[in-house]
């Protein structure tokens, strides 16, 4: 049975090979020209439009420029903000006030020192005041 099957298969295989069609080589050149003409519009379209790419390819292409530029912008912004920061207001006469208050609270404070301290706090020049009369 198997031998019969192999025999039949062999004869069928021979018949398939004998009847196989093969392209005429002389027609292939003409066909190639025909195909080249048919694909010409598609190729022309490819010349003028950028071919579609994946987003990561686009990002990769721009990365060489965008990363240094981004870093530069960040550093420049930070430097600008640092330079333009508002100066902290100096506590006017703070130290003088502390000294003055300390002097006023001291048990043995001379009146001249107190007067000087008050002048410093209220800003009145000592020289412009009229001399005080002792009681």
């Amino acid at each position: 049975m198997t031998n019969d099957r192999n025999h039949i298969d062999g004869r069928i295989r021979d018949a398939i090979r004998a009847g196989a069609q093969h392209p005429d080589a002389s027609r292939l050149d003409a066909l190639a020209v025909r195909i080249e003409t048919a694909v010409k519009p598609e190729l022309n379209g490819r010349r003028w439009k950028p071919r579609s790419t994946h987003w990561w390819e686009v990002a990769g292409g721009w990365a060489n420029m965008l990363i240094p530029a981004g870093l530069t912008v960040i550093l420049a912004s930070a430097a600008l903000l640092w330079a333009a920061r508002p100066a902290a207001p100096a506590p006017a006469n703070q130290s003088t006030s502390v000294v003055t208050l300390g002097a006023v609270r001291a048990p043995r404070t001379q009146p001249a020192i107190v007067e000087f301290a008050v002048d410093q706090i209220v800003g009145t020049p000592t020289e412009s005041r009229p001399p005080r009369s002792d009681r």
Binding site: I12, H22, A32, I35, A38
Partner: protein, 204 residues
Amino acid sequence: MEAFRATGSQRQPVRLTLYDDSAASRERELIERARSGDREAFGELIRAHLGDAVRLAMRVVHDEHDAEDVAQDAFLLALRRLDTFDTRRAFRPWLLRIVVNRAIDFAESRRIRSAELLSPDARDASALPDAKAQHADLVAHVQRVLAGLPPRQRLVIQLSDIDGASISDIAELTGSAQATVRWHLHMGRRALRAALSPLFGENA
């Protein structure tokens, strides 16, 4: 992938060969140029693979003119899909798979099943006067039965019998699993035996 076995000087088998490195890099270069719209590069690709494309299409559609139309469609489709092709892989199997699919679509749309299974009259072929005429008659019958098979079965049998392709070659070419190829081969041979065994005066 192993090259298909040659079956004669005039009759070249469909090739699914490996490339050497220089040929592969040359092909990659052509593909990149074709992607940018280079006509000369795509023309070179066409001429390199056209013979195999037509030969393969003829295995399915059984008509040279139809096969040429199929090959033309396949090249156009390949160009449109060229951006999706992975250039690390071989171009020929990718292209030929497109040809196979186009040919099968064509065959199914045309319903190329013109041949009926062997008619009872064909059993009288053994009564032909000489062996040559008998053989010619057998070939004609086989071709008719073959043409009546589903396109994929027909292709698998021909790639195996005419081109000497291995199961793995056919699987790659058709984009099918090897088990599927074996199944098509088995069913195709079975159908051929069933239709033709009366001609041999034997039961399959």
